[in-house]
Amino acid sequence: MREKLMGGFASRFSEVFKRLELSSTLEIANRASDVEVERVLAQGRANSLNEFAALVSPAAEKHLETLCRLSQRLTQQHFGKTIRMFAPLYLSNECVNICKYCGFSRHNDIPRITLDIEKVEREAALLAEQGFRSILLVAGEHPKYVSNGYVEEVVRRLAETFPSIALELGPLETPAYQPLTQAGCEALIVYQETYHEATYRSLHTAGPKKHFHWRMDTAERAYEAGFRRLGIGALFGLHEWREEALALAAHTQHLLKTCWKAQINISLPRMRPAAGEFEQVDFLQDHHFVQLITALRLFAPHAGITLSTREPSTLRDGLIPIGVTSMSAGSSTEPGGYSSFDETSFTPTREQEGEQFHIADERPPSEVARAIRKMGYEPVWKDFDQSLLAAV
């Protein structure tokens, strides 16, 4: 009986999502009135999904400056004048999935590499030298990494150098996540890519990733295994951006309630050129991108928002004081990519054959850190300690 009463919050997001009538909310996102937008802006917060919808509507576009000001204030209040720094480390580009937009997709003819553990340690050492104390381990989806304890061993080795370790791999069941949290992982990132089911199915035609709902519940399974930071996101460009934004906001709200001990982090990657022939459906324009970030801030003031090197430097610098809370820098999206060039005289990389996507902000980390300081913010490299996780 009790379970039934609490059903609303006890359900997984995939269940909630099925019942979510996004069409009426989408109607608001497309056609909110000036009066409604101004009402929400006047209260300084979006207290419901409908109010969030008003903030991403065309009517809100002319209030972008106000949105930015409100977002800046809320972000500074909760996160201070700081930007958390992290770097991705690509472990492998082997992948069993077909994702039509991704450079790692199994139908792409690219060199396939999985770094051995010593090579991972060398790559990690280069990142540590540049200042990174927070690292995101990325791999394509392939059963051989997790089942044989490879990722777990990588985490164990890197935990001595990196106080904070995050993972971005193919979704797993809760018990398969547990050894990873025990080894010292703090965060798990998994993007839904698109929340539009028909689009999702047409883009993910083979491999375990084709299971739309199973992917959707990954963050909750990870939470049950002890991850304390959960990253979600949509890959903008695959489907109409306002609809993606509503679903992502609903997902954020759901996780804030069900995974109340976790820090929820949102990423808003926009499509970049990568291997394969993929044409975007709806490119997210810069001013819409800013509108989306600030609207999310007014809807979920405590959620972290990450900006990767997919975005060009001018846009990244401009977004520092507006609502972003963490940034990567100097990223290579190719396994082994950090040791394949001279990082002390970091020169713009040509497009690499084995990379997932090509980055736009090619500045080395020290230069990004300088840019952050110039904007009046402190780049924070260490904001977690392994001792918080370590077994006694």
């Binding site: 820090q263 300690d385 996780l389």
Partner: protein, 264 residues
């Protein structure tokens, strides 16, 4: 005209002239933080251990401690990031091993959003740390019974929140803090949510022994000037408390006395 000299604040075995404690998060740079701390004339500064390197090595990318001047103020390591008692105890022990003072601001917040403290875990951790010789200053919700329990196990202060961290809402919990102050056997430090010097002054006026300010100073457009503004407010509030404030009249005096019949 005589100038009133306020009483010092005594916590554990230490005496402080300043009743303003300052936190070190959210500043736009370590230099800005250092200058604001100086300007505040604080003598007790809290720092999140998760931001520091505790291995004993010198790490230029986790060097917040290099900007904290231990000849000016006592460092009060805090356990922010800990979600339960075990984690808090572990990181406090590490801090001591790394050469930091054995004073600890105990803060355990399982909810990373509002950062509200877990009362059950806080009490459990306080017991362990006090037995190990730590001077424990626990961050708590404004719960008078919890404050009593923490004093029973030997905490050096209690630090009830005025409102959630970073909220700038001021003394939302005023009526509960009044009870905590009335019953207190140790100094009461109002921590969190104080967004304006007037909030700090009000806390001191009502008898709080000190306040801890972080966000309101750190994200001000001029943190050093704001730190000074808070310092003045804290001093004014304390002076007024010691001198004794007149009671605000809640009702007008009746024009026709009600007790004249007694004289008849």
């Amino acid at each position: 005209m005589s100038r009133h000299t306020t009483e010092p604040l005594i916590i554990g075995d230490r005496t402080f002239q300043s009743r303003l404690l300052v936190g070190t998060g959210k500043f736009s740079s370590n230099e800005t933080m250092r200058d604001a701390l100086r300007a505040s004339e604080t003598e007790l500064v809290t720092v999140a251990l998760k931001r520091a390197n505790l291995s004993g090595d010198n790490d230029p990318f986790a060097n917040i401690l290099d900007y904290l001047e231990s000849d000016r103020y006592l460092l009060l390591p805090n356990t922010a990031g800990a979600m339960n008692a075990d984690e808090a105890v572990r990181i406090a022990r590490l801090a001591v091993a790394a050469g930091l003072p054995n004073w600890v601001k105990l803060e355990i917040h399982p909810d990373p959003n509002y950062l509200l403290p877990d009362p059950i875990e806080t009490l459990a951790a306080a017991e362990v740390l006090i037995k190990e010789g730590f001077t424990v200053l626990p961050y708590i919700n404004a719960d008078p019974v919890l404050a009593q329990r923490l004093q029973d196990v030997g905490c050096a202060t209690v630090m009830p929140l005025g409102s959630p961290i970073g909220s700038n809402r001021g003394l939302d919990t005023r009526s509960q803090i009044e009870i905590i102050i009335e019953q207190a056997r140790v100094p009461v430090v109002v921590d969190a949510g104080l967004g304006a010097p007037s909030h700090a002054a009000a806390a001191l006026e009502m008898g709080a022994d000190a306040v801890l300010i972080n966000t309101a100073i750190a994200i001000a457009s001029d943190p050093s000037a704001m730190a000074q503004a808070f310092a003045k407010a804290v001093e004014a509030g304390r002076e007024a408390y010691e001198i004794g404030l007149g009671k605000a009249n809640t009702s007008a005096e009746a024009t026709s006395p009600l007790t004249t019949f007694l004289n008849a």
